[in-house]
Amino acid sequence: MDDDLEEFREIFLEECLENVELLERGLMQMDAGESTADILNEVFRAAHSIKGGGATFGYQPMAELTHFMETLLDEMRSERRAVVADDVDLLLEGLDLVQAILTDSKEQSISADNDGRLDLQLRLQASVDSAEPRADAPEETEAAIVVEDEMRSWKVTFAPFESFFLRGNNPLLLIRELQRLGGCTITKSFDKYPGWSDFDPNNCYLTWVIDISSTSVEADIREVFDWVDTECELTIEQIESSPAENVAAVVEETPEVAAAVVAPAPAAAPAPVASKKPAPAAAEKKPSGGGADTSTIRIATDKIDQLIDLVGELVITQSMLSRVCQSQDQIDVAELRERMADLEYHTRDLQESVMQVRMLPISSAFNRLPRLVRDLSKKLDKEIDLILEGETTELDKTVLERMIDPLVHLVRNGVDHGLETREERIASGKPVAGQLKLNARQESGSIIIDITDDGKGVNPEVVLRKARENGIVGDEELSVDQINQLIFAPGFSTAEVVSDVSGRGVGMDVVRRNILDLGGRVHVHSTLGAGTRVEINLPLSLAILDGQLVRIAGQVYVIPMLSIIETLEIANTERSTIPGTGDVFQFRGEYLSMLDVSEFFCLPDGGQGELIVVVENHGKRVGLVIDEVLGQQQVVIKSLDKNYKNIEGCAGATIMSDGLVALILDPANFNEPAKLAAAA
């Protein structure tokens, strides 16, 4: 039972997050002045779903807050008030709080600021009350408000179906919600109780009759039962003239009455318990997950249908193949080849379709940026045109989730450091509004995201001076390109003032770390005075990578294609030995250090070392010495630490076509040769 409820809770939280996204998108459109009826309706529906679900699952603060937001939205929707920027600001603020509450409940922590919420609710209410009625507002508004203020009495008969508890519903929460509308007198009925012999503790046999006196209209009461309307019989009748004086006295008792009603039936236990249980349950879950994300993914049904079709095809091909192999006479080689070709074709299709399941459009990450840029533009008083391109580009879900923070950081950085103030822009003859462009696209086996601004660009002199001051680099000469990459160094910051927007010199380092962890690369291109472009290069998927097979000391290894820059013949390079740092070689006018993989791995046979593969390692280039370059192949990444442990210099392992295991090298994870020498 607990698991069931937990499952529903998770679905509810997922849905809430989706609705929050919808709300945000809608509000941003409203903010931009596009307040069509469709948008308003969508926003209203999203707020309404959050509220309804929140009440059912016992997230009282969230339900309360969204109630106020909904009221304001309803006024806008029914054209009783104009959409004004202040109200949108209030709603956005509310949205942030809802998000905070949701995050809290997902992580079972409580950090959302309750006073802030109450304060915001008051401000929302004040905004509703202040009612700047539209000049053309429908006439009946006035009348409707008057009617709403009148006290009315309702008789609500609430008869849940027997299966009510099985769906994870809790009648107590519904009754409490009802009490919030006004004073209630609650009577229970055991009419449906079948006697002990037929009693099933999982079933609900209770019926409640609730007399409620409130200013609410029937729709308000019906709304409380919105989530369970298919799981109960509900009748709502209006009763004439209410004994209003008695109500107050009854209210005091009701919580106990309601609780007492629920308590006697053992069946009711699961539901109330649920409000206490989730915490330990979730706590137990964490360690077994081993820190891995156990998030869910929503898949379009047609994608699943396609998978089922493909598996069907595969089964047919397999049975054809076995028929060919089982034939009594000579095996028909031509047919066998044909079937094998079919098998290959279906397998590849299936692989592609399965990978598709994990792919999500990058728009889900881009969608948060308009809001961020809007807030930043207000805070920093800069006018900004945000341009998003290639929003339909698809990325692996894990990659996407882990790219959100880096993207937010880069956008923030671009707005804060890249784009100039209005005055500076006018002085340098640029348009007043700064431009920030994000472009996502797929290029061969990788995804490229460009973040371009037309701001002042990176000043290499300032960067070099700051980097020397902070001791990040010594006095050596660096090319402009090398200097530009210094902005990713840990502890680097050029901002004179540390603001809460950026400037602590932590962010860019983390950005690069995150991207490297995903097996990607990041590079800065900049022209002083004309702007900066940050280019992020990401693998399409975390499960499969394009690999270059190489031989080192008789063993086959895989090097990710994405990290390879060039392969050179060792005989054709200019090499020299520098005491203390080991061998270096010349590559495009730069001296790069050489790392002998067989030495690094302490392989017994040692390699002949014929070739150098130039790879990127922590933003620096390094030459890996190998024996032979073999083919290129897509490989499935398997973790080594599932049954063993991580090995320095290895990103994992894969299984080759001969069934043997090959290790995947991780150029970003090779130690500096100097450190290695010290260890050896």
Binding site: S288, Q555, L603, K642, N643, Y644, G649, A653, I655
Partner: protein
């Protein structure tokens, strides 16, 4: 943990059953509930910078499984691979995860049922010859003498991250 959960469903005797194998002429036993399968000797991929007893990894139906030279782990002399050499695939919990490991043995022998009376726990004195505690107990069946292995320290010394191992034996 594995043994406990399965023990509830199976007849009690499974819990007392041991798979035995030969190493350097002696017969060793491990709890049968931790044995997943037995594989023939085959090619494997060596791992860089591994401890001497970690031979490498094999592909077990898509999973990467390390195989250990049990002779090396127990300090026995090395020997050549023969036609009886086998890999016993063990599945057991370590560090809150079920891990699968292969143990390379000279040959697989029998499955015995050992009653508690036939098992003699190792004494403190044994610690001097077996400081890591690889030997859990001694068993006897049909006049035969069995060494019952304790898999925990074998798993631990293999799976602990390198830094921790270095810290333990500097």
């Amino acid at each position: 943990m594995l043994a406990e959960t399965m023990g509830n469903e199976l007849p009690n005797e499974s819990a007392n059953q041991y798979l035995t194998f030969l190493l350097n002429g002696e017969e060793y036993g491990i709890e049968i509930l931790k044995v997943q399968e037995i594989k023939n000797w085959g090619p494997f991929t060596p791992l860089p910078r591994s401890q001497p007893h970690v031979l490498g990894v094999i592909n077990l139906r898509g999973a990467i499984v390390p195989i250990l030279d049990l002779r090396a782990k127990l300090g026995l002399p090395t020997t050549d691979v023969t036609s009886t050499t086998a890999i016993i695939i063990i599945s057991a919990e370590f560090d809150e995860q079920i891990r699968t490991l292969g143990l390379v043995v000279d040959s697989v022998s029998e499955v015995y049922q050992l009653l508690p009376d036939n098992i003699q726990k190792t004494s403190e004195a044994n610690r001097t010859v077996d400081p890591e505690g690889y030997i859990r107990a001694f068993g006897s069946v049909d006049e035969k003498f069995l060494i019952l292995l304790n898999l925990e320290p074998i798993f631990a010394s293999t799976l602990q991250p390198d830094e921790m191992l270095e810290a333990a034996n500097p």
